[in-house]
Symmetry: C2
Subunit: 228 residues, 2 copies
DNA sequence: TTTTTGTTTTATAAATTTGTAAGGGTTTTC
DNA sequence: GAAAACCCTTACAAATTTATAAAACAAAAA
């Protein structure tokens, strides 16, 4: 939609014109929609955070809903690319160990992008055309990756057979809630969820609690191996 | 819902008056605030669902925020009472088994009241006076119950020492997300999260995955005992 | 009956919300 | 250089939002 090839003012310090306004709108919309939901945010608020005037939103996007969809698409496509790229780097010899490493990827991923879990929380609680669109377009394809390895684990017998709907919600919630609800964690225990120690601690907790327990024969902890 | 002792128009079909309007407002506010959040719901919408006019809300409640707090207090006090009552009925001989049964209580509880998890999700993602109030007033006291048994398990050595903030978020999220995000589950897998089979299946999944794995020596599954 | 009290509605004010219209400026193109 | 295309702003309309004021209405008290 925008033309990335050239920015107009090459020295670039006047109140920025050009296609980056569109990007700033999307960035503002992402942070606001994620924590307040579609109905909870006004285009005026988004405009203020983006540093532009409200009607400009309607120049770049048909309406509020189109802006919301563009926001989701921008975030989810970035994320699914990054995640796939990281997962592809993993050793795929031992399936069980692969699953654990994949989950560590996932945790570091939701730690970096808490908005991901926030959007799912916002939209997942009520039926709506937006939920339907988000599931069809993004969520279903992403979760299907997990389904493949689940099926393999079941048929090869190294995974406990817990129903997939329960399992996937349980695992993904375990991984993401700690980061998506960082303010709650802060308020409850004074802990900054996004700091490296906490991310590592949560990664360990998820592997220990949620991942190892779905394997019939748990594998040794990284930290144990390192400690001995 | 309306006062049973007397209805003003004795034939009982006039638009109900009396103090139950306050109750209807609270019920409407609960269902709407839970899924759309504080900013996402207007008092006009609440009034429409409650079947009264919008200014009546301001007769019964000082303002929108006071209504929100009254809604939370009504829900959380009901829930914490019910939950405590059920937990008190449990056998408290074997601590590990007690923990498992307590978690089954908790799951059946969040299955009955998905709004509980929804409110926490709504408010937990951004710092606000509302979050602060909710944590101080309700959440902290409720979670302290879990903290007691956690401490006991750690000091007696039958619980793996995973940091409490990670553990409590992980466990509660595992238990509640499946029900709080029922529309998402429905959209993804066509499954009705609130039906009895699914509740039982999730209860099993939580015990199997999230609870047993925090014990150093897991205890036998109910279903295994029954199957053999 | 009359008064009082408590509950609810109509009317309305001030601010905010989404979206459109029309017009400046800047580049780009011819 | 003029025309066209593009990005952005001011001005504004229609609907909605929170909250208040005043009046209607019903039940209880006097």
């Amino acid at each position: 939609m925008n033309t990335p090839e050239m920015s107009p003012g090459e020295s670039g310090f006047s109140i920025e014109r050009g296609p980056d306004a569109r990007e700033r709108i999307l960035a503002a919309a992402e942070s606001l929609f994620a924590v307040r939901g579609f109905e909870g945010v006004s285009t005026t608020q988004i405009a203020k955070v983006a540093g532009i005037t409200q009607p400009l939103i309607h120049y770049h996007f048909k309406n509020k809903e189109a802006l919301w969809k563009a926001t989701i698409s921008r975030l989810f496509s970035k994320l699914s690319q990054e995640f796939s790229a990281e997962v592809k780097m993993l050793n795929h010899k031992d399936d069980r160990r692969y699953l654990v490493e994949m989950m560590r990827c996932y945790v570091s991923f939701v730690a970096r992008y808490p908005q991901y879990g926030q959007f799912i929380m916002r939209e997942g609680v009520q039926e709506s055309p937006r939920l339907q669109w988000m599931v069809e377009e993004w969520l279903k394809p992403m979760l299907d990756q997990f389904h493949d390895i689940y099926e393999k684990g079941i048929s090869e017998g190294w995974m406990k057979d817990i129903p997939f709907p329960q399992l996937i919600i349980l695992i993904t919630a375990s991984a993401s809630q700690f980061f998506s609800m960082a303010p709650l964690v802060k308020e409850l225990y004074g802990v900054d969820a996004s700091c490296p120690e906490q991310v590592l601690a949560h990664s360990d907790a998820v592997v220990e609690v949620a991942v190892n327990s779905i394997l019939r024969e748990p594998i040794a902890r990284q930290s144990e191996a390192a400690a001995v």
